[in-house]
């Protein structure tokens, strides 16, 4: 059946029949790939321009509508040998990109001004102790003012705006003392210059802005990198639905383009693209991503189904509905709203420091002025000294202390396969003392696999697996992943709802239900004993075999659970699945505290009870039913295979088949938090040393400059230790997460495969040391 592909939601229409589209491209790894794709596309008729952004692994294409269309372009890229996924740019990403450009402009202006003002300042400092005339000094000060004032007005905007915003909200952020310090330093300097004084602080003010802008820019750059990566991952995973048009034709549309009321066809083996009610057909569906339940549910006309379930046996037609009253989705959303509202606004470490810091500093400055007045100094001298106190305490080190650590820690986590969603996630991750795991898809792999424990003849397994390649049933798909030779048997026929048969080596072979394989008495006792698995039977000639398909634990789950417990964390399993399915998993991991059969509201209740006891809970879950619990918990993690709604409420996502990123997240976050505290302590020590000098009235611009840059460098270097330590801890883990190029390709999960193709430079580079020169000449 030919099906038209409707990609109009990704295409930007330009003038005169020209269109533009952005695509995330898999597998671009070298200069040769860039050239192959760009040259291959521009050769096509109708393509105006094709340009790859290698940093983001994205391709921007412009074309004329009358000669080629979006689907044709994707096909052409496939022909060249790459897979491209259309990409709808998110607003946040565009905002970030504009913000980054603006910060970089401010940084450039501040850098230019800082260098030139410092040039003049050093001349003045040298001249003050030798033979500089007052006229020359005044000229240099006026020149400094000429450079510094407009530069500060431009480059200080990020801080001034944020300070005004904070004050309007009647709060104190770190930007308030920064803005005040800069403005006062500049005002004092202009006054001193006008009165022919020996000292001016233009260099201090502008250098402060330069250092802080560096920190801001790096912070934003790190966040952008993570966001671009997450965006590519989302478009790689984006699914298409078969929409039934009124005329009865089928159109393939991106899931995001579905509207309530649309009719959608879901074939066996496909994921249900949207919530809806079944209009026709009957089937069994696997709802493990929705409820955590691993046994399939039988559905027929009139049943409500949820996005993310997998259709197992028969084709279904469904009408897309908005979340209706009384459905699971509606309950989840109601619980979500409540959880988000109830979540106490955690005050960030930096803001707590700022709230304490600003009043102390401003009171000290005021007391200094009053003290000098009482001691008999002139009003002018008292104010100059008080402003010197403000300048020297201007929180350069303090404002860098936390962002610097955050940037370094986020980078470490990114390399370990953890993508942070929010800015203060690191602080909250560091505070957890209890980890609550969901079972299905979190402790276990998202896709079921063949049970390894029973003895299976490798020849029969291979035949069964190859036969399974011809079926779309989820159980068959699990079996098919074990096929060493990935070629389907010719002439294999799938009988919907029953199984597949084919003639192999002259004998008919069947794979499917026990009945289909004409096994009179299937392995009844085994099936009854083992309620955690589903069974699939293979028969050929006289030989039969029954394979148990079950959710396997993530390969390193036991080791990670041990390591987490060794770090003093209390582990709990909360699952929506049956007790019989949860108990073996909890036992294998050595977790005594587990509950099964929980509804979303009950999961939240357990977490709330734990938090009421003063525990800080880290929730790790992937199902739709976990979303409210993730929002309610102190911190939360989701595997990248999680339901969309769930991902949106997690603090961070982790990639790959392993559970180790959970451990990394906790370890790196704890390390980062202790470094943040160290940095704050360093900043306080610096102030304790510098403030008395300032109060005594001994601060010259030279001392201010040295103290400021010295303390900033100290905290930044200390922050870099987070990277050294984290990378040392994570190094062995990074290696065992790599897809092994020698092993069977089918062993690689979808994410592991996509990992090597999306920007993940460190991992990809280590996995396959590419002969760059050969690639280019090829």
């Amino acid at each position: 059946m030919t099906e038209t592909l409707d990609l109009s939601m990704f295409v930007e229409r330009g003038t005169a029949g020209a269109s533009h589209m952005t695509l995330a491209v898999e597998g671009v790894a070298c200069a040769g790939c860039i050239r192959k794709i760009e040259n291959g596309l521009t050769k096509l008729p109708g393509i105006i321009d094709a340009r790859i952004n290698f940093t983001q692994r994205r391709l921007a294409v412009d074309w004329r509508d009358d000669e080629i269309d979006a689907a044709g372009i994707i096909k052409a890229i496939e022909g060249i040998g790459y897979r491209a996924h259309p990409f709808a740019p998110e607003r946040v990403e565009a905002d970030d990109s504009a913000q980054a450009k603006w910060l970089l402009k401010c940084l450039a202006v501040a850098g230019f001004a800082a260098m030139n003002v410092m040039l003049l300042s050093i001349s003045v400092w040298a001249g003050n102790v030798s033979d500089m005339t007052q006229e020359t000094r005044d000229l240099f000060h006026w020149l400094s003012a000429l450079i510094a004032l407009p530069a500060a007005a431009y480059a200080g905007q990020p801080f001034f705006r944020s300070a005004v915003r904070a004050l309007r909200a009647r709060q104190l952020s770190m930007d308030v003392p920064i803005s005040l310090g800069v403005v006062l330093a500049l005002a004092l300097s202009v006054f001193e210059t006008a009165t022919h004084a020996a000292h001016a602080y233009f260099d201090s003010a502008i250098m402060l802005l330069f250092f802080l802008l560096c920190g801001r820019y790096l912070d934003l750059a790190m966040r952008r990198k993570t966001r671009v990566f997450a965006g590519n991952l989302a478009s790689l995973k984006a699914e298409f639905a078969h929409r039934l048009e009124a005329s009865g034709e089928l159109t393939q549309v991106p899931v995001a383009a579905l509207n309530p009321g649309d009719r959608v066809l879901v074939r066996p083996g496909e994921r249900i693209p949207a919530d809806g009610a079944i209009l026709g057909g009957s089937s069994e569906i696997d709802e493990s991503l929705v409820t955590g339940e691993t046994l399939p549910r039988a559905v027929g006309a009139g049943t409500t189904v949820y996005a993310g379930s997998i259709n197992a046996s028969g084709a279904l037609t469904l009408r897309v509905t908005a979340a209706g009253a009384g459905t699971l989705v509606e309950e989840v959303e109601r619980l979500l709203d409540k959880a988000i509202a109830a979540k106490s606004q955690t005050v960030r470490l930096a803001d707590r420091a700022a709230q304490f810091y600003a009043p102390v500093v401003h009171a000290t400055a005021a007391l200094t002025a009053i003290g000098w007045l009482i001691a008999g100094a002139s009003l002018h001298d008292s104010i100059v000294i008080a402003i010197a106190v403000l300048i020297i305490t201007c929180p350069c080190a303090l404002a860098l202390a936390i962002p610097a650590v955050q940037v370094v820690a986020a980078g470490s986590l990114f390399r370990a396969g953890v993508i942070l969603n929010g800015g203060n996630a690191i602080e909250r991750l560091a505070e957890v003392d209890t980890v609550v795991f969901d079972k299905t898809g979190t402790l276990t792999l998202p896709e079921p696999g063949v049970d390894e424990t029973t003895d299976i003849d490798s020849d029969i397994l291979e035949r069964a697996a190859r036969l399974a390649l011809s079926s779309r049933h989820p159980l068959a798909a699990a079996l098919a992943r074990r096929a060493r030779e990935r070629i389907a048997y010719p002439g294999a026929v799938e009988e919907p709802g029953q199984g597949v048969r084919a003639v192999i080596d002259g004998d008919e072979a069947r794979l499917g239900s026990a009945k289909f394989c004409a096994l009179a008495a299937p392995d009844e006792p085994a099936a009854a004993r083992d309620s955690t698995a589903s069974f699939i039977t293979f028969a050929q000639g006289g030989k039969t075999a029954t394979f148990a398909i079950r959710q396997a634990l993530r390969p390193d789950a036991i080791a990670v659970a041990k390591a987490l417990m060794a770090r003093g964390l209390h582990l709990i399993v909360l699952s929506g699945d049956r007790p019989a399915a949860v108990a073996p998993v909890a036992n294998a991991l050595g977790i005594g505290d587990w509950r099964a059969g929980l509804k979303p509201a009950e999961k939240i209740a357990v977490i709330d009870a734990l938090q009421a006891q003063g525990r800080r809970v880290l929730m790790v879950g992937d199902g739709l039913n976990d979303a409210p619990a993730l929002a309610a918990a102190h911190a939360s993690l989701s595997p990248v295979t999680a339901a969309h709604l769930t991902q949106a409420h997690a603090d961070a996502l982790f990639l790959g088949d392993h559970l180790k990123p959970v451990l990394h997240a906790v370890v790196v976050a704890r390390r980062a938090r202790s470094l943040m505290k160290q940095n704050l302590a360093l900043a306080v020590i610096y102030n304790a040393l510098a403030v008395p000098i300032a109060i005594a009235g001994l601060v010259t611009p030279l001392i201010a400059a040295v103290a400021m840059s010295g303390s900033s460098m100290l905290v930044t270097l200390n922050a870099l230790r987070a990277r050294l330590a984290a990378d040392r801890d994570l190094a062995p883990a990074a290696v065992d997460r790599l897809p092994n190029p020698d092993s069977n390709g089918s062993a690689m999960s979808a994410e592991a495969a996509s990992l090597s193709s999306v920007p993940f430079p460190k991992l990809a580079a280590k996995a396959t040391p590419r002969p760059l020169v050969e690639d280019i000449s090829a």
């Binding site: 450009k101 402009k105 450039a108 430079p761 760059l772």
Partner: protein
């Protein structure tokens, strides 16, 4: 010290030229794809053999 009268403006002018150059390169998108720029110089398909 009269030399300052033209040396200082010259120094500032040179600095401003550098700043303008940076802002122009930023505006024209030269920092959008730093990794790609490093790779694009490698192929020699612009040389006719």
């Amino acid at each position: 010290m009269n030399v300052l009268v033209y040396l200082v403006p010259m120094a500032l002018l040179l600095g401003l030229t550098g700043l303008a150059g940076f802002l122009w390169s930023l505006k024209s998108g030269q920092y959008d794809d730093l990794d790609g720029a490093a790779l694009r110089i490698l192929p020699d398909d612009d040389i006719d053999s």
